[in-house]
Subunit: 322 residues, 2 copies
């Protein structure tokens, strides 16, 4: 393989000049640059970072797998993940893998082959058997059967907090509404926290769940309204569910927060231009993103972590719905 | 450099087996896989796709530069760009470059060095002198001094449409509100279309602009309300401006659409859970994304295009604000 000296020799310049051309650093006359580039081409010299990383079998790229970047929670997360990676000299590859396990498997393969240095994954697909512990992966929310570090918000505390805030706002019979997902995820603790706190406080409560995803939203909500017309508080598993519930409730003449207090989860509304401004359990998105990246880069650097789950504190944010 | 045959020889297996291990295709016994992997390591054999691409000086990666992925218009665009790239076997690198020209310059360098195959850029930074015509770049909305293909929505027609719809809704003195950006962008045509159509229809109108970005929003809107209290229609340069205007108008007791009809631009609301549902000029986001990718991959494949600007049709979407 041609060396930088060969290039310098052919171009009739100093090695330092070749280096400046390669690294786009320092001034090089256009004419000189052209000569160097021609020499690089003729000798098929491989100067770039990929080649260097490659020799070291190291990539400076991290893949982010998520259901869809068009969801506001994921796009905010992606923003901070990219920002944190950039600080550390890494680039982000983005993969929307919602209901496409084959895309996720492809990235796992890339990781096995060192084409990416690590993966941050928010995934609901059936890929458990393809995930292995000896490669750098950080999962958001989901647990795998193998030992994979998981970064999550304090869903259990979030559920407790939501119950308490609904009661404080006057609800006598609050309901949890959500779905049952087929993988083991920390987000199921939103319900457990809600239920445990209701029990601890001696509050009557309802749990309403259907298998994820909800195909027929009309059916989902109609059934809820029919079965539980005495509910006066709703803790929705996320803000979209909260917003959907409120829209459908208002069509039935149920006012929020007059008749029913509503709290969501996520905190996707970044400003108060659109209404209702949801009362919600706000996830610490930025901190989750930066923590995930730090843990991942730690793993890439050979660190091992004794803790499996990194659970970050949530906050109640009062809006117009409680 | 070691060949696949060397690896097969050292591992004591057939070349096909090595290939199956490398490509993760077909069944290989764990013990055999281990042997092959050991041989690969010992011989420092470089099997992977990056290396292959690399030899051909071709990367299968495209960089997307945008101000911030956390803005709903950009995240929707990114979703479709990734989807279209994936169909064609390309991966997406994501870069949030808002007010960080140095990040964009870094990616332009990567492109020069073939570390990425092409760039789709939505950029407002001062990078004009670093962009060159002989590398695959597609710009969204913005024009450069050199000949770079630009994909945009029909901003001029959007402006005309907005004026007509405001008038149809009863506005006698509509205003355009927006900012003046320091680069040459198609989005400035939103104003021109609005103004031309007002002139053509003989409608009295107002143009209210300040230099971008707006640092002091209070001042921006207060001045507008003070100077133009006779305005009964607003065409905002984008949906966020429309939402901001409505929020501030309502604080002053101005009702929308009762006193003032409002139309935005973009179409960032994907559902009707949050209010007001804006009347808006909807950009064909998906089509813009797929068109940008097709044009980019065409350039990467060596095609040349005679057209500079690809302008896609917009639609008026009636909401609750007209």
């Amino acid at each position: 393989m041609a060396s930088i000296k060969d290039v310098a020799g052919l171009a009739g310049v100093a090695v330092g000049t070749v280096s400046r051309v390669i690294n786009h650093s320092g001034a090089v006359k256009p004419e000189t640059r052209r000569k160097v580039e021609e020499a690089i081409k003729r000798l098929n010299y491989i100067p770039n970072e990929i080649a260097r990383n490659f020799k070291m079998q190291k990539s400076k790229m991290v893949a982010l797998l998520l259901p869809t970047i068009s969801h506001p929670f994921f796009s905010e997360l992606a923003y901070y993940i990219e920002d944190e990676l950039d600080r550390e000299g890494y680039k982000l590859m983005l993969c929307n893998s919602g209901s496409k396990p084959e895309k996720e498997l492809y990235y796992l393969d890339m990781l096995q082959q060192n084409k990416v240095a690590g993966i941050v994954g928010i995934t609901y697909n059936d890929i458990d058997s393809s995930v292995s512990t000896d490669i750098p992966i950080v999962s958001i929310d989901r647990h795998f059967s193998k030992r994979i570090i998981c970064v999550t918000s304090d869903n259990y505390e979030g559920g407790r907090l939501a119950l308490r805030e609904l009661v404080r706002a006057g609800a006598k019979k609050p309901a949890f509404i959500g779905t049952v997902i087929p993988v083991s995820s920390e987000i199921m603790k939103r319900k457990s926290g809600f239920v445990q706190e209701a029990k601890a406080m001696g509050v009557d409560y309802v749990v309403y769940e259907k298998p994820d995803p909800i195909i027929d939203e009309d059916k989902y909500y109609n059934e809820f309204f029919m079965r539980h017309d005495d509910v006066d508080g709703v803790f929705a598993t996320n803000d979209m569910f909260a917003a959907q519930y409120i829209e459908r409730a208002s069509r039935r003449g149920i006012s929020v927060p007059g008749d029913v207090k509503v709290i969501g989860y996520d905190g996707i509304q970044s400003h108060a231009y659109f209404h209702p401004v949801l009362s919600t359990i706000r996830q610490p998105v930025e901190e989750m993103a930066r923590t995930a990246v730090k843990l991942l880069l730690g793993q890439i650097g050979g660190e091992s972590f004794h803790q499996d789950t990194y659970c970050l504190p949530v906050m109640y944010r009062q809006g117009e719905t409680t």
